[in-house]
Symmetry: C2
Subunit: 341 residues, 2 copies
C-alpha cells in the first residue's frame, strides 16, 4: 500500500464517510456514530481504526448479519449500578452514545456504575469511549472480547480473543491519562499482513498446532497467537473474557467465533465508570495532585505516557486537517461511485 500521507480537510472526510456509510445502508444515526469514531481515530493518526475502517465496515454489512439501522435500547432497571444497552445486532457505537448519559448519572450518584453493551458488532478502538468518560471527570475501564484466536499460556489452541482493555484517568485542564491495548502479543491484522506478504512473525507471539513457538504465519494461523506477558497476560485475558462475556450475559470469544466467523465479531462490551469526586470527597485536589506527581515522575525520567504519541498527533491535526494515506483516500473516493454505476 502507498504510505504517502496527504492532508484532507476534516469536513471533506466527514462528508465522504457519511456518504459511504449511508450508501452502504447504515441509518443516519449509525452513520453519524461510526463517522465520529473513525474521524476521531484519524485525527489521532490511529490509522488502523480511522478511515480505513470504512472498507471493512461496509463489507461486513454485506454478510447480512449486522443490522444497519437498529435503534439500541437502554435499560437502567437491572440494578442501580448496572445499565444495559442492547445494540440489537448493530455496530456498538450508537449504543454507547445513547447509554453514556445514564452511565455518567449513575456513576455520579452511586460512586461507580457499569454499562453492559450486548449483542453488538464491534470494530472500534476503546480509547474514544474511555476518553469520553474522562472528559466528564470520570475514571473509566473498558473491556471487550473478540474472536478466539489466542491460546492461554502453556496451551496450543485458541481460547481467548485479542481482548483489549482501555483505561482513562481525568487530568484537570489536560488530556486524560489513557491507555488501550490488546492482550494478544500482536494484533490479528499484523499476523494476516505477515501471512499475505510471506514475512516471518516476531518471536514469542504465536505457537503452531503442537504448541511449539513459531514465526511462520501459516503455522501460527493453524495454531494460535499468544498473549503479551506470558502467564500474567494470559490471566488478564481470561479476566477480560469473563467480565466482558459471561458477567454481562454475552458471548465469549469462542462463542462469538462459532456464531459468526466474519471479521467484525458479535459480542458484548463492559464499561466501568468511577467518580473520583465521590471517592475523594473534599480532598480531591490533594489526591489528583498525587496522580500528577506520578505522571511527572514518568515523563521526567524520559519515559512516555501511554497515548502520548496519539495526543501529539491530535494537537498537530487540531486545525481541521487530517493526515490520510493517499492510496486509501483514493480508494474511499471511488467507493460511492462504484455503487452509483
Amino acid at each position: 500500500m502507498d504510505d504517502v500521507l496527504i492532508s484532507v480537510s476534516e469536513g471533506e472526510a466527514n462528508t465522504l464517510a457519511m456518504e459511504i456509510l449511508k450508501e452502504a445502508g447504515f441509518s443516519q444515526s449509525h452513520a453519524e456514530a461510526i463517522t465520529q469514531s473513525i474521524i476521531t481515530a484519524q485525527r489521532d493518526e490511529c490509522h488502523s481504526h480511522g478511515l480505513y475502517r470504512l472498507i471493512s465496515c461496509t463489507r461486513a454489512l454485506q454478510t447480512g448479519r449486522i443490522d444497519p439501522a437498529a435503534e439500541p435500547s437502554v435499560d437502567g432497571s437491572t440494578a442501580p449500578a448496572i445499565i444495559r444497552a442492547d445494540a440489537r445486532h448493530a455496530i456498538s457505537l450508537l449504543a454507547f452514545q445513547k447509554a453514556m448519559p445514564l452511565l455518567v448519572e449513575r456513576s455520579r450518584s452511586l460512586g461507580m456504575a457499569a454499562l453492559a453493551i450486548n449483542n453488538c458488532y464491534h470494530f472500534s478502538a476503546l480509547w474514544p469511549e474511555a476518553e469520553a468518560l474522562a472528559a466528564e471527570g470520570l475514571v473509566a475501564i473498558v473491556m471487550t472480547v473478540s474472536h478466539a484466536w489466542v491460546a492461554p499460556a502453556g496451551g496450543n489452541a485458541p481460547a481467548f480473543g485479542t481482548n483489549p482493555i482501555a483505561f482513562a484517568w481525568p487530568r484537570p485542564g489536560r488530556l486524560p491519562f489513557v491507555f488501550d491495548f490488546a492482550t494478544s502479543a500482536i494484533a490479528r491484522g499484523e499476523l494476516e499482513l505477515c501471512r499475505r506478504e510471506g514475512r516471518p512473525l516476531p518471536h514469542g507471539v504465536a505457537v503452531d498446532r503442537a504448541g511449539n513457538p513459531t514465526t511462520d504465519p501459516e503455522a501460527a494461523a493453524e495454531g494460535a497467537m499468544l498473549t503479551f506477558g506470558g502467564y500474567k497476560g494470559s490471566a488478564l485475558s481470561a479476566m477480560i473474557e469473563l467480565m466482558a462475556g459471561p458477567l454481562i450475559g454475552d458471548m465469549t470469544s469462542a462463542a462469538s467465533l462459532a456464531y459468526d466467523s466474519g471479521t467484525v465479531p458479535c459480542h458484548g462490551e463492559i464499561i466501568l465508570a468511577f467518580d473520583p469526586a465521590r471517592f475523594m470527597g473534599n480532598h480531591a485536589p490533594l489526591h489528583l495532585a498525587r496522580g500528577e506527581a506520578l505522571f511527572d515522575s514518568i515523563v521526567s525520567q524520559g519515559a512516555r505516557l501511554p497515548s502520548a504519541r496519539r495526543h501529539l498527533a491530535r494537537k498537530r491535526n487540531s486545525k481541521g486537517q487530517l493526515r490520510v494515506r493517499s492510496a486509501l483516500w483514493q480508494e474511499l473516493q471511488d467507493m460511492p461511485n462504484e455503487r452509483h454505476e
Copy 2:
C-alpha cells in the same frame, strides 16, 4: 535455608502464630486476622505469604509505626457504592474482615460496589480476599500499591510499586477461578535474595541507573526493577497506582516510600465486587456455563488455570496438616521463648 518440608498440625501452627503475634503486641482481633491469613497461605503452600511472614510482621512492629491494636472503622456513607474502611495505621486484614459484610450487601443491592481500605500496612497476598468474595458468589478485583521500586517502560527510575492485582470468579460447586500476580517482572524478595547470594537476576527484569538492562542485582537496586510485559504491563501498573492510590484518597507507591521506608508499606487497597446474579438475571446458568466452557477449553489443551497448583496443595493439606519448611518451623518455635527469657 533448609528446604526440607515437615508436617505440622494446623491447630499447632495456629496456636504458635497467635502466641507469637500476641507476644509481639498485636491485639486479639488483629492476631486472629493475621493468623487466619497466614494459615490460609500456608495451607496452599504459598510459602512466601505463609508462616514465614510472622517474622517480618513482628519485626515491622518494632519500627513503632504500625498500630498493633487499632480497631478499623467502616463507613458506608461516602456514596452508595463506596465503602471506606480506615485501618488507622494497623495491618490491613482486620479492616477487610470488618468491611466485607457491607461490601457484599452493597454489591448485591446495587450490582457492584467498591471497598477502599485506607491507612493500612499491607503484607498479605490478595487472593484470600478475592476468594472470600467469590465464596459469596461475587466476582472480585483487588489491587494495591507498594513501595516505588519499579520503573515505567522506557524509564530508569522507580515510579511504581510491585503493584499486584487479583481477580476471582465464582464457580458453582468448585473452587473459584482466581489469579493474583505482581505487575513487576519479579518479586522484590527475589531481587533481595539474588543480592544476598550474589546470584545474577534473570534477563529483562531490571535496569541500572542509566536505564540499561542489567542482571546485576546491585546495579538493579540502584536502578529499578521493570514491570512484566513491557509497555502494556507498565500501563497496567500505572492503572493500579491510580486506582489503589489517588482514587481512594491514599498514597502512591512513591508517596508510601517517602513516608515509610520499612518493608511493610503503608498505603491503601481497593476491592471491587460485582454480583453476577444482578448482572445476568434469570440467564445466570447459561452464562456461568459459558465461563465453564472457557475453563474447559484451557484445561483440555493441557494448559493450567491460574492458582491450580495452589488449589491442589489445599486439597492435599485439607486434613488439618500443613507442610512447613523445617528451619522456619524451628525459628518460629524459638520466637516466643526468646521474649520470655
